[in-house]
Symmetry: C2
Subunit: 222 residues, 2 copies
């Protein structure tokens, strides 16, 4: 029997690559996505495509009620910033930051991991994120892992630890693109845009689009 | 201006008493409840009554989708245990344990605390709970507090820490009953039962009912 992993899957390039990396490591895959009133719900369709392609054992889409909290351009009527330089991106905490989002996502993943008896939770945070988002940094991930192993019945009764795996942590976008290709992930199936058009196409101008395009360009030069 | 607190409020005796204790400490109160498909939704009506009586500044009820995860008598079709002795209650992890529930609740509270600029999150866990539920123990609470202060924009940008307050941690039920009375909380407004009747009355036989009744009896003798 393969060990089980819960993989947080938004449908973007990073989480999709993470899913394929978990597969490469031999885990039985249980994908977990969230429908939290994000503007870019087209991401969820991408998540379904990618999960199917990866051959996951299960894929849950959990509805989350984050809009009542306010405070983010991804869930509220704040404008998504466009056409920023790559130097500007990641210097500060962006308006697209959703308060405590990764903590909420990881908490659900922890509950699911406990129910499934999974031994790992995979999360696609990476080096480009953690300068801007506090909950993408290595010390945050370590703190969550510590919490997870105090919070769960499995940890208490059988001392079977749950690990939080962030295989992209120290990769740049070009490296992620190359890794995705090496694992057979067609990255055109993924959707990273914060503000897609009504036809579901990427805007090409938000931070996520710019970082992705730069990563693809750099990967194509290597 | 009073400092703000987010108070997790189920509508049970413990969280209601915690709300009144936060009020006693001079906080501006922001109550947070969850509708997570629990059998005892009558709790939410109690939460609304208690929040109003406490004079909270806001009360949010967030819909959570926990049923898909399974694994608990509170959200699934597992029978709630009845007529256990008080000695049996709290010796093991009960079937009413919802995987990662407190972690999910605290994560939402953290997001709300960040949006509101609150400096404290109050949670009504207590000594009778933490022997049975792993996520009610002091070391778990400390680990969450540590995580909270790595996860949030406020902690990163202004180093304003968020504290997780558990004022009932070392109190028994009788002490909680006495404290509630001393603060003017009419505990008949609260609802602790895991399995109320269709008329919304407590069953009188689940662990929560038994602990509560024993606490009231002891308080009345003191």
């Amino acid at each position: 029997m393969h060990p089980r992993a819960v993989v947080l899957l938004s449908g973007g390039l990073d989480s999709s690559t993470t899913l394929f990396m978990a597969r490469e490591q031999g885990f039985e895959l249980h994908a977990l996505s969230f429908d939290y009133g994000q503007r870019h719900r087209v991401e969820l369709r991408a998540a379904k495509r990618v999960a199917k392609r990866a051959g996951v054992t299960s894929h849950r889409v959990v509805k989350l009620d984050l809009r009542g909290m306010g405070g983010s351009a991804l869930t509220d009527e704040i404008d998504v910033p466009k056409h920023r330089s790559v130097a500007e991106i990641g210097c500060d905490i962006p308006v697209t930051y959703v308060p405590a989002r990764n903590t909420i996502f990881l908490s659900y993943a922890l509950g699911l991991a406990e129910v499934l008896g999974a031994e790992a939770i995979f999360l696609g945070v990476n080096a480009l994120d953690f300068s801007g988002y506090p909950d993408c940094r290595p010390d945050y991930i370590e703190a969550f892992e510590r919490l997870a192993n105090l919070a769960t019945k499995a940890a208490v009764e059988s001392s079977r630890p749950i690990s939080i795996q962030t295989p992209l942590m120290h990769m740049n976008k070009a490296e992620i693109v190359l890794k995705a290709r090496s694992l057979g992930l067609d990255i055109s199936m993924t959707m990273s845009c914060y503000d897609p058009t009504s036809e579901g196409l990427p805007c090409g101008a938000c931070d996520a689009c710019l970082l992705r395009e730069q990563g693809i360009a750099q990967a194509n030069q290597s």
